[in-house]
């Protein structure tokens, strides 16, 4: 009841005032796709990053971006202004494709960018040094930040259906391994599932959200699932 003695409805738009940093892996391994009809892992990840950044900015949260490969390629401090989105989009157009992934440095840099407890979102294929990565995440978590990891995978990395028989070459490590898909597929699938389970288990122990995102699925679904526990996000 207002002063006019009439029923009124007031509508408020909530502003979370959160500071978030998106850490995007742009190393060489992210430039790979198992089928020409699919996006590369990096292209798919960039769409996720753009979407996420737009959502955060629209709810007046500050969002920043750290791109890295074997070094930090782009560092955009978190801002809540609308122009921030254009900065992020422009940064996504920058180069990358380093031969390695220095994720530890990128995570530590992201932790520094977020001055008070906020959110760090890691978007990567996780083809990295596992122990160093977990240590870096521990440091970020120690700073009071929430961490969510989006594990980007091409379906061919799960199904191992790239070639029936070939010498498979790691573009980052330059490691070559001859194999016949039919012979090792079962063992490979088991190994991949085991690796995902390990990531999920160890990250959960650190209180880190973890979601596997395949590049052949609509990215809205994994995003919704990844951030479902965070009430402030739509």
């Amino acid at each position: 009841m207002a002063r006019a003695d009439k029923w009124m409805v007031k509508q408020f738009e909530e502003e979370t005032n959160m500071r978030a940093a998106i850490v995007l892996d742009v190393s060489d391994s992210m430039h790979w796709t198992g089928a020409p009809t699919r996006l590369t892992k990096l292209a798919y990840a960039e769409q996720i990053v753009a979407s996420l950044a737009l959502l955060l900015i629209r709810q007046k949260d500050a969002v920043g971006l750290v791109r890295y490969d074997d070094s930090l390629r782009s560092v955009i401090p978190p801002k809540a202004r609308n122009v921030q989105f254009r900065r992020i989009i422009k940064a996504l157009e920058d180069g990358g494709s380093g031969k390695d992934s220095d994720m530890s440095a990128a995570l530590l840099q992201a932790g520094k960018l977020v001055s008070r407890p906020g959110l760090v979102v890691l978007v990567s294929d996780l083809l990295v040094d596992e122990e160093a990565t977990l240590n870096a995440i521990k440091v970020v978590r120690a700073g009071g930040h929430g961490v969510t990891v989006l594990h980007i995978m091409d379906p061919s990395e799960r199904d191992f259906d790239v070639s029936p028989e070939a010498i498979f070459v790691d573009p980052e490590q330059n490691v070559a391994l001859p194999a016949t898909a039919a012979e090792v597929r079962e063992a490979y699938r088991s190994t991949v599932e085991h690796a995902i389970a390990e990531w999920r288990s160890k990250l959960a122990a650190l209180g880190v959200g973890y979601e596997v995102v395949f590049t052949d699925s609509p990215f809205g679904v994994p995003l919704r699932r990844a951030f479902a526990s965070r009430q402030r996000l739509p």
């Binding site: 990395e157 199904d159 070939a166 490691v175 012979e183």
Partner: protein, 602 residues
């Protein structure tokens, strides 16, 4: 195992394909970027043992598949493991000839051969048909048990037998059985004289077990002849022994011993005698016993009595008269009217030796005489062509003038010789008829050295009194008795009716020919002299003697046993190999698809 198309075995070289594929996997040149190599490396590291086993299994399956296909293409024939043998017609030829009665290691050879034959029968099953064929011509069929009992009962045959005929008969039995498997097995002592001719049994598989050991030393009487065949009453027995050394012998006529002494190999043993008893008598020449008893005695028969009294017709020519004079000098005949000899037209009564007339103009008179005497033969129109005479003791005799003999209704006689396909000499009850006059212008018979002995034998055996022929035969051998003989009397006095076409008795000895109550001759049954030679045929030679497919000849009883039903158990293996190849391919597919299916499912 054998192959019908062995050239296809060259397909075995195709095993190089899976081997090449297996090795080629290590030489992949196609390089593909794949960021998740670390997962692949970990997968291979964690599953290296399983992968190696899988690869080896796949290689084995592929090689085995190629081998199975190559073998199947070569159309193998062989034993199928665990399949037993197909229903088989099995004929067991058991050599029970006299030589198998030799004692070796304390028992007759036949006992050993019987055991092997029982082994062969024991390998048969209820689905088989089995026969026992012995070399004496006996065939036993029926149930397996009946054949086993027949084998166990088989006794030594007193003669040589005929292994060739036995095998031919056995082959006929198995072929006629109509079963899928056919086999003839032979158990023999491998005596060379028994296997003296090749035996052809067609495409029936045959497996022969022979003996490789040296035969025992053997002593035998191989000859025992009374001379002359009719003693008047003097005569002699001439015998001969086959000996590796020397041995004592005895010659006996009835119960009377005529001679004793020591015999040496090949030496004539002669005993002269003038028996007091008359009629048909049997005698034996015997040696001291050795390992083969069956040939230690040899039998003979002789007729003892007065010399037949003969009167030759002076018109018959000088040759007949001269021959009779010679017989008179030897006391084989005497002068008298008992037997007439001469041209048919001048003979007054039987018994008589009737010659063809010397002149064609006397042909009618001669035939009238034959009719009057009741001789069922007539002289035909004279023929003046040079003709060879055929018959026992007439080799080389020629006839240039002959009156072909024409049989009349009811003629029952023996033909002793033929000329130009027609009877030349026939003998009947009380007569001997010759189709040519005994003149060199008609035949050269009277010029032959054999003429006088032949004439003496004809008078003694065909014309004199009740005496007829002395016949010789091997045990069970063919025998043709003179007309009118209706029974045989054995040495112990037992009389057995004799039917036409029957064989000689299977036991050696003297059997008197009976015409009613009267003895009219003798059948002397002795083993063949060659049966006393125990020399064995080498295995290779024996194998050459058998003209057949898949002939196995061995002295190894175990190998022989293994060869039994070998053919029956051999069958085309093409289908099983094709099935095996398909099974291997299916297994290979399962192994390959298993990973793909699991991957797809995951």
């Amino acid at each position: 195992m054998s192959f019908l198309a062995p050239l296809y075995l060259l397909l075995v070289a195709a095993v190089a394909v899976p081997l090449f594929l297996h090795l080629r996997r290590r030489r992949i040149e196609n390089r593909v970027n794949f960021p998740a190599v670390r997962y692949l490396a970990r997968a291979e590291r964690d599953n290296v043992r399983q992968l190696k086993i899988r690869n080896l299994l796949l290689m084995f399956l592929r090689i085995a598949t190629v081998l199975a296909i190559a073998a199947a293409a070569a159309r193998p024939i062989g034993r199928f493991f665990g399949a037993g043998h197909v229903p088989t017609a099995l004929a067991i030829v058991l050599d029970n000839s006299l030589s198998t009665s030799a004692i070796v290691d304390g028992q007759p050879l036949l006992s050993t051969l019987r055991e092997h034959a029982l082994d062969a029968a024991g390998a048969a099953s209820g689905n088989d048909r089995v026969w026992l064929v012995t070399v004496d011509g006996t065939v036993t069929g029926g149930s397996l048990e009946a054949v086993r009992q027949a084998i166990a009962r088989t006794d030594v045959y007193a003669g040589r037998g005929d292994v060739s005929t036995a095998m031919t008969r056995a082959a006929g039995l198995v072929v006629g059985a109509g079963l899928e498997g056919r086999q003839v097995v032979v158990v023999t002592d491998g005596q060379a004289s028994a296997w003296n001719i090749p035996v052809a049994i067609g495409d029936v598989p045959v497996s022969v077990l022979t003996l490789a050991e040296a035969p025992p030393r053997n002593r035998a009487i191989v000859q025992a002849d009374p001379r002359p065949a009719r003693w008047t009453p003097r005569g002699a027995v001439v015998a001969r022994a086959q000996l590796p050394d020397s041995a004592t012998y005895r010659i006996a006529l009835g119960e009377q011993t005529l001679a004793r002494g020591t015999a040496r190999d090949g030496e004539d043993l002669t005993a002269r005698a003038t028996p007091t008893e008359r009629g048909w008598r049997s005698g034996v020449v015997e040696l001291e016993p050795d390992e083969l008893r069956g040939d230690d005695a040899r039998w003979f028969a002789v007729w003892v009595g007065a010399a037949p009294r003969v009167r030759p017709d002076p018109a018959a020519g000088p040759f007949l008269r001269t021959a009779v004079d010679a017989l008179l000098q030897e006391a084989r005949v005497a002068s008298g009217d008992e037997v007439s000899l001469g041209a048919a037209d001048g003979i007054a009564g039987l018994p008589a030796l009737l010659l063809a007339p010397t002149e064609p103009s006397r042909l009618g008179a001669a035939n009238r005489t034959l009719e009057r005497l009741g001789v069922p033969w007539r002289f035909g129109a004279p023929r003046r062509d040079e003709t060879v005479v055929r018959g026992d003791r007439f080799d080389g005799v020629r006839a240039s003038l002959r009156y072909p003999l024409e049989a009349q209704t009811g003629a029952r006689s023996d033909t002793l010789a033929t000329a130009g396909g027609a009877p030349w000499i026939v003998a009947g009850d009380g007569y001997v008829l010759i189709a040519s006059p005994l003149d060199p212008t008609a035949t050269d018979l009277p010029l032959r050295a054999t003429f006088v002995p032949w004439l003496g034998d004809v008078i003694a055996q065909r014309l004199a009194g009740a005496a007829t022929a002395v016949l010789h035969s091997a045990p069970g051998g063919p025998v043709r008795l003179p007309a009118g003989v209706d029974a045989l009397e054995s040495g112990d006095g037992q009389v057995t009716p004799f039917v036409a076409g029957a064989s000689a008795p299977s036991r050696a000895g003297v059997y008197f020919l009976r015409r009613g109550p009267e003895r009219v001759g003798a059948l002397v049954v002795n083993a063949e002299p060659e049966e006393s030679n125990l020399t064995r045929l080498p295995i290779a030679t024996l194998r050459d003697r058998i003209r057949g497919r898949d002939a196995v000849v061995t002295a190894d009883a175990a190998a022989w046993q293994r060869s039994l039903f070998d053919v029956g158990s051999r069958r085309p293996l093409q289908l099983p190999l094709i099935l095996l190849a398909l099974a291997l391919l299916a297994a290979e597919t399962v192994v390959v698809r298993r990973d793909e299916r699991l991957g797809a499912a995951a």
